[in-house]
């Protein structure tokens, strides 16, 4: 404690410079006076008395120095001197300092900004109890290459009962349902959860209680989110015991979750208890388990795969090829953005490398011009390490200033960036991106590491030579010297890295452009859609559904400005890819346990004509395909090719199982063009379209699409009103133009293309600054040589060619290395965005062209300056 106090006092004295101003001399003089007096009294002459006293003291200035060292900390004392000196030197070289600091700030800022997002999403623990023990268990199906499939209720119970690795295991599923309070009905994002879920994740309702074990006679209960409770019940505790209507059935509110609780980032508004479901084929549940203490993920994997193998043997029909995939919960909920974030993080890491190379190169150049100063200081007795320390302090000042500026840049950009993508990436944490302690720590760490990285080598390089040589050399300023090898190497490396990033950015931009120009197979102009959610209890019967469809269509079609309208259950580009199994009359099933697979869609009369989807054979769904008429189906070309290759599908019949007992026989009446149903990047799959007026498949979500004469946006409000007037109980979840649907479907590729493109551009600019600096330096060093050449008759163009040639030489080396790196690196982008073509020669060529053009520009400016050298002036400088 005492030692610390003394150390702090000394540190304070060092930093404030107090050590210099002290009463040391007074005290020593007083001491000498006493001693001399005593000595004289003992009979010495005054001179002798003084000599003895000084001798006994051990020298005046030596003692004073020893006291000063004890007073302060010599290390920090020197540091303070170095800092003061560094700041003075850096302020004298404004251009150098600004370039170095801004370059470094851009590199650090990009890293800190992306890190604050990574920190919020990937690093910050989930708001659950001991989240590191939570593991999500997905079903896998090798045949359909599914890694994150759901599990059926009976299989979940088997997992829960048979495993030995988990303390407890819970299941949940998404359920977006119409949620009605006294004032309105909205489609709310909800989840059904097993009764033990809140125990497993270790978060209990803030008020009220959790669910009890579900029984068939259990009353309908619901737990609300804090947000919904505050919005609709004004945060009143009396909400407990009141009812809300979910899918029209009254549910008693038993609890309210704490603020900001979310299971997997979905911002759920309500939770319902999970009921019993005996169907082993309905894999709709996601599973989360809490590992027993001491059980590793590996052991749990072995345990689960033993269970799934047993289930495969017991239930070959439903469990053949089904395994389990165990993923730590934190990784599972961020899985969609994890790879993208890590990719961008490595990209900004490369940008920082380039920035550091730039600063290092600048320092090297400056070191060269400071040879004389350094040589002089060395000659006056400064040790080598002392000089290195001084130079490193200067780098540290640059790093600190750049880091601080970078943190500001990150602080401004990160939250804006996060807000821009929050809607696309529904992951926990994206709302809470901020500059917290972790980000600060990261920025400091990166700045220190990078500061050392760009500072150490130049500092030693500046001092590698004998001071005598340096003094001599520095005075011979006009010696023709090219930039040192180290700087040339740095510039080549920068160019290579920038090229690799440009290729990456170019590849993603090209992928995005290709996606954007992919014909979706339909015409999205002048269309507006409204997503509806039919409350199934009242729409259980086909005739109720048909009644609503017809009423709604009639009202929407009679709106002024509406040309046509139709219902469809899966609008193109909606990211869904669910297939159903069916049989074909007269054809054997492909396997004994499963039928054929296709996407089943419903579309009412006139849908294909309105969407501009071509009819290839037969006809589309028409008004005459009403309830009671023969059940019809329209298939797409992919289905025709897959199921009836080389024959006409028209008039063929398929059997669609509705449930365990009933099935429906449909006759194929037409073939329509393929559309990109799931996303622009995914090729059309076989699709079978039935009429909603005939379909006995009950789906609650459907979409009404209207074609308008003018701007479709203007129809939003009338469309909502028309649907409401047809049935006020049907909630509308989303109204949007189909053009927006198309552009939203490529938001993610666009985001990655924009980010990577922007960072690649930053890298290019930085690399060009580096190259420019090198060539400008080289030109200044060779001024004398150019003077001589001009004097001997060299044309200006010769000089320009000479200098540009030097730059191109470096760029060519960088391009060569960069192309090899890029060829390997672009492969990593394949998993990031659908449709990436790695090693695309067009991209490589275009990017190389851009880089070489930028290089030419960066070298041309100093080359022009070189060519304008006045030979007389250049030679007179000698």
């Amino acid at each position: 404690m005492r030692a610390l106090r003394a150390w702090l006092l000394r540190l304070g004295a060092s930093l404030s410079g107090r050590a210099r101003r002290s009463d040391v001399a007074d005290e020593l003089n007083s001491h000498l006076a006493f001693h001399i007096e005593d000595n004289i009294r003992a009979g010495m002459s005054p001179a002798e008395a003084r000599r003895v006293a000084l001798l006994k003291l051990g020298g005046f200035s030596q003692t004073a120095e020893a006291i000063r060292e004890q007073r302060a900390l010599p290390f920090f004392d020197t540091l303070r001197q170095d800092l003061v000196y560094a700041v003075r030197v850096l302020r004298r070289n404004r251009a150098f300092t600004t370039t170095a600091v801004v370059t470094f700030a851009l590199g650090v800022g990009a890293n800190s900004a992306i890190f604050s997002i990574v920190n919020a999403i990937l690093l910050r623990p989930l708001p659950l109890a001991e989240p590191s023990q939570l593991v999500m268990i997905f079903a896998t199906e090798a045949r359909r290459s599914l890694q994150f499939d759901g599990v059926s209720y009976p299989a979940f119970i088997d997992w829960q009962e048979q495993n030995r690795s988990f303390e407890s295991m819970a299941a949940f599923a998404n359920r977006d349902l119409p949620l009605g309070t006294s004032d309105e009905v909205v489609v709310a994002r909800g989840k059904v959860v097993s009764a033990n879920l809140f125990d497993v994740v270790g978060v209990q309702p803030a008020i009220g209680r959790a669910f009890r074990e579900w029984r068939p006679q259990s009353a309908d209960v619901v737990i609300l989110s804090d947000g919904f409770w505050k919005r609709h019940f004004a945060g009143s505790p009396s909400a407990i015991g009141q009812t809300v209507r979910i899918d029209e059935r009254p549910h008693t509110i038993v609890g309210v979750m704490p603020p900001r609780f979310t299971l997997d980032g979905d911002s759920e508004e309500f939770f319902q208890p999970l009921g019993l479901d005996t169907n082993r084929n309905r894999g709709f549940l996601r599973t989360v388990g809490r590992l027993r203490p001491g059980v590793t993920l590996e052991q749990a994997r072995d345990d689960m795969s033993a269970i799934t193998r047993r289930l495969e043997r017991l239930y070959p029909d439903s469990h053949a090829g089904v395994g389990a995939n165990l993923v730590p919960m934190a990784d599972a909920v961020a899985r969609r953005v994890r790879m993208g974030l890590l990719t961008i993080m490595s990209v900004v890491g490369v940008v920082l490398l380039i920035a550091c190379a730039n600063v290092a190169s600048l320092l090297l150049a400056r070191g060269a011009t400071r040879q004389q100063e350094l040589a002089l200081r060395a000659a006056l007795g400064a040790g080598r390490l002392r000089l290195v320390r001084q130079l490193l302090t200067e780098s540290a000042v640059i790093a600190a200033a750049g880091g601080a500026l970078g943190l500001l840049v990150a602080h401004w950009t990160a939250s804006a960036l996060a807000a821009a993508v929050a809607d696309q990436f529904r992951v926990p944490g994206i709302q809470s991106v901020r500059t917290d302690g972790m980000v600060l720590l990261f920025t400091i760490g990166v700045s220190v590491a990078a500061g050392l990285g760009f500072g150490v080598a130049p500092a030693f390089a500046c001092l590698s030579k004998d001071p005598n040589d340096r003094l001599r050399e520095a005075s011979r300023s006009a010696t023709a010297r090219r930039a040192p090898r180290a700087r040339r190497g740095l510039v080549i490396a920068e160019t290579a890295l920038a090229l690799a990033l440009l290729v990456g950015g170019g590849t993603l931009i090209k992928t995005f452009l290709k996606l954007r120009s992919t014909p979706p197979g339909f015409n999205s102009a002048s269309l507006i859609k409204a997503d509806l959610s039919l409350p199934l209890p009242s729409f259980w019967q086909l005739d109720t559904r048909v009644g609503f469809y017809q009423a709604a269509l009639q009202r929407v079609r009679s709106l002024p400005g509406v040309r046509a309208a139709a219902f469809v259950s899966i609008l193109p580009l909606n990211n869904r890819n669910n297939t159903e199994s069916f049989h074909i009359v007269g054809k054997a099933d492909p396997s004994p346990t499963r039928g054929f697979n296709a996407v089943f869609n419903m579309a009412s009369a006139g849908y294909f004509r309105m969407m501009g989807i071509p009819i290839r054979a037969g006809r589309e769904v028409e008004e005459r395909d009403a309830a009671g008429a023969p059940d019809v189906a329209v298939i797409n070309e992919a289905a025709a090719r897959a199921f009836w290759p080389g024959e006409s599908p028209l008039g063929r019949q398929i059997v669609l199982p509705i449930n365990d007992e009933a099935s429906q026989i449909l006759t194929v009446v037409g073939v329509v063009g393929d559309v990109r149903l799931a996303s622009l990047g995914i090729l059309p799959r076989p699709e079978i379209v039935v009429s909603p007026m005939q379909s006995r498949l009950r789906g609650s979500s459907t979409t009404i699409v209207a074609q308008t004469e003018g701007d479709p946006k203007a129809l939003a409000a009338p469309l909502r009103a028309a649907v409401h007037s047809a049935n006020p109980l049907v909630p509308i979840s989303l109204i949007a133009t189909v053009d927006d649907v198309v552009s939203n479907s490529i938001v993610e590729p666009r985001l990655y293309a924009t980010l990577l493109g922007a960072f690649a551009l930053l890298a290019l600019v930085l690399a060009c600054v580096g190259l420019y600096g090198l060539i400008a330096y080289s030109v200044s060093q060779r001024r004398h040589e150019f003077g001589v050449r001009v004097a001997l008759g060299a044309a200006q163009s010769t000089i320009v060619r000479l200098v540009v040639g030097e730059g191109l030489h470096l760029a060519a080396a960088g391009v060569g290395i960069g192309l090899v790196v890029a060829a390997a690196a672009t492969r990593l982008l394949v998993g990031l965005v659908v449709g990436v073509e790695p090693q695309d020669p067009v991209t490589f060529a275009a990017v190389t062209f851009v880089l070489v053009a930028a290089t030419l520009l960066a070298t041309y400016i100093p080359a022009r300056r070189a060519a304008r050298v006045d030979p007389i002036a250049a030679l007179r400088d000698e």
């Binding site: 040391v24 007074d26 007083s30 001491h31 006994k56 003692t63």
Partner: protein, 114 residues
């Protein structure tokens, strides 16, 4: 006279504290002389080493210093023992006694000694 012993590292602080306890507030020169006198001139004290030691004691809070005037009317910096310094003196003196006792037992010829 035998060679004068150099002051051991660490013992100087103890001597300073003891001197201040015995004589009360005193300036550096006075402390130095007193240490030499007490040791009956067996110790050779380089006066220059005393001042960093005093400063260290001050930084540790065991002594405080103040400019004042000496008996013969000369300006000098006087050092005074603090309460913490008094405690530290007791502690160090105890430790020192223990150490010397142990060493003494080692150095006295014992029965087992060959």
């Amino acid at each position: 006279m035998a060679d004068k012993a150099d002051v051991w590292q660490g013992t100087l602080a103890l001597m300073v504290l003891k001197t201040l306890e015995t004589l009360g507030p005193l300036h550096g020169y006075g402390i130095a002389r007193r240490i030499e006198q007490t040791s009956a001139h067996h110790l050779s004290l380089n006066y220059g080493t005393l001042y960093p030691a005093l400063l260290k004691l001050e930084q540790e809070g065991y002594v405080t210093s103040e400019w004042g005037v000496s008996d013969n009317n000369r300006k000098a910096k006087f050092y005074r023992l603090t309460r913490a310094g008094r405690k530290q003196l007791e502690k160090e003196a105890r430790e020192w006694e223990r150490t010397t006792a142990i060493l003494a037992r080692f150095l006295t010829p014992g029965e087992e000694a060959p």
